[in-house]
Each structure stands twice: as structure tokens, then as C-alpha cells.
């Protein structure tokens, strides 16, 4: 009786020695935007893969939202 009980206890104890369980969390790594999109809608005027070129493109595009550059402000 005793060995059987011991074997059962051992089996229970070893049951916890399964492979480690991991909870999937955290995000996948993202590609930076200057690695241009692989679609046909990429705007002209900048060089794919060049961070400085992309930054310049975005800065120019942002500045173009200022319509005072197109129409002079009221005097």
C-alpha cells in the first residue's frame, strides 16, 4: 500500500515538471516607416530606406497644411 501511495505522490509531484508555460504578451517588432510601403501608392519626392529623406518629406507635407503659404494673410 505504502509504495503505491509513494508512487502516486511522486507522479503528482512530477506532474508539475511539465515544460514551462509562457503567456504570450508584448508586441511584435514594427518596421520603421522610412522602409517604404510595398504598395503602388508611395508618394514621390523621397528615397525609401533613408530616414532623413523620409523626415524631410513628412516635414514638408506637414508645413504644406499651412494655407497662409498659399494665400497671404489678411493685412
Amino acid at each position: 500500500m505504502k509504495p503505491a501511495l509513494l508512487a502516486f505522490a511522486l507522479a503528482l509531484a512530477l506532474g508539475g515538471c511539465d515544460k514551462s508555460q509562457t503567456l504570450h504578451s508584448g508586441h511584435a517588432s514594427d518596421t520603421p516607416p522610412w522602409d517604404a510601403a510595398s504598395d503602388p501608392f508611395v508618394a514621390p519626392g523621397w528615397k525609401a530606406g533613408e530616414k532623413a529623406s523620409w523626415e524631410s518629406q513628412i516635414r514638408n507635407r506637414t508645413a504644406a497644411q499651412n494655407e497662409y503659404l498659399r494665400t497671404p494673410p489678411r493685412s
Binding site: H27, P33, D39, A43, Q65, N66
Partner: protein, 211 residues
């Protein structure tokens, strides 16, 4: 490095919902999910204002802080994105966000909540830029196309500005300094000129007062 930001000029927004439509069309957003919406305050009252609201890509984002599976990340340009493969749709981010940005498509039975969806600043997600997989999960990646978010680029009155925070702030500063305040921007003075003793300068109004 550019730090991407949105700003909506309440003095210019005419609540046309062009930004909402542009966003929906650009990313093929399902029915019931609104990454961007227009909020009107004091509707029908003098001084009514509208602003366009979406994810503000917070510098200290509460959604990131509360996410139990850490699915959020911030890109080098300051855009707050999330990984839908990791999101469990718990909705904590929805409670934490002060702007009501996180959206949950209810496409399952018994109103089951799907994975969170929100404005991506048109920057897609973790999938390779411009791929079909990225489009299906997050929509178009306009930043990787060298463009700005569709909502801002489509805004007819340029109330909604997007892009490098420093440049956006400069544009708004110039506007505020140029347009003045009070009747200079709202009402009679703007439309017809500055009032003189309760009547407009020149034209019918002045004649009517004299006669």
C-alpha cells in the same frame, strides 16, 4: 526626430465629418467602428464649437499602462500602436482612454467583443509596411508612403492638422496671431467688417442709420 501629433482647431471645424469619412474609406473600417468622430459642444447655441477626436497618441498613454497583455507600443515617431495578435479584447484600454479612442467591433454572437481597433495615425501595425495583412488588420500605412493621415489631408478647412508636432504648433501659432480674437474670428466683424456704432461700415446699413 519628428514627433507625430494631431491638433484640431475648434475655430475652424465646421463639423462636416469629412475626416470621419476619409478615415472610414481609407482603412475600410467596419460598420459600428469609428476611429475618428466629430464632437459638437453647445450645439445650436451662440459660440457652438466642434472638434474632431481620435486617438491622440499620448506621450504618456494610459492605454499602454493598463493593458494586461502589453500589446501597445510607441514607434520612434511617437505613434501609439497595438498588436492585434496579442490583444485579448478585454476593454481596459477603453476605460482608461480619456478620448474614447479604443473601439471594439461587435461581430460575434451575443455581442461578443472583438479585438480593439483604434486610430493608427495611418501608420499600420507590426506587419510589414503596405502589405495586405497589415491593411486587413490596421488599414493603410500612409506614413510608410510618405504621406500624412488621410483625415488631416482631407480636411477642407484645415481645422485638423497632423504631422510633426513642432511644425503643427508653428502653423497654429501663426493662425492665432494672424486672425486675432473675439469678433475678429466669429460673427459680424469677420463677415462684414468691424461694426461702427452698431452699424457696419459703408453700404446699406450706414445709409439706413442716417436716413
Amino acid at each position: 526626430m519628428a514627433r507625430m501629433k494631431f491638433i484640431c482647431d475648434a475655430e475652424r471645424c465646421i463639423a462636416c465629418n469629412g475626416c470621419v469619412t476619409a478615415c472610414k474609406a481609407e482603412h475600410d473600417i467596419p460598420w459600428g467602428v469609428n476611429r475618428r468622430r466629430v464632437v459638437t459642444m453647445g450645439e445650436g447655441m451662440p459660440g457652438e464649437r466642434s472638434i474632431s477626436v481620435a486617438c491622440m497618441h499620448c506621450s504618456d498613454a494610459p492605454c499602454m499602462a493598463v493593458c494586461p497583455v502589453d500589446c501597445f507600443y510607441r514607434t520612434e515617431e511617437g505613434v501609439v500602436l497595438h498588436d492585434k495578435d496579442v490583444c485579448i479584447g478585454c476593454g481596459y484600454c477603453s476605460y482608461a482612454c480619456p478620448f474614447g479612442a479604443p473601439q471594439f467591433p461587435s461581430n460575434g454572437t451575443f455581442g461578443m467583443r472583438g479585438k480593439m481597433d483604434k486610430c493608427t495615425f495611418c501608420a499600420g501595425g507590426p506587419e510589414p509596411n503596405g502589405t495586405q495583412a497589415e491593411f486587413e488588420k490596421y488599414g493603410r500605412n500612409r506614413l510608410a508612403e510618405g504621406k500624412l493621415p488621410a483625415c488631416a489631408e482631407m480636411c477642407s478647412t484645415k481645422a485638423l492638422l497632423a504631422g510633426d508636432g513642432d511644425v503643427v504648433a508653428d502653423i497654429l501659432r501663426t493662425r492665432v496671431l494672424t486672425r486675432g480674437k473675439g469678433s475678429e474670428i466669429w460673427g459680424w466683424g469677420t463677415a462684414y467688417g468691424k461694426p461702427s456704432n452698431g452699424a457696419p461700415q459703408g453700404g446699406q446699413g450706414e445709409k439706413a442709420v442716417k436716413s
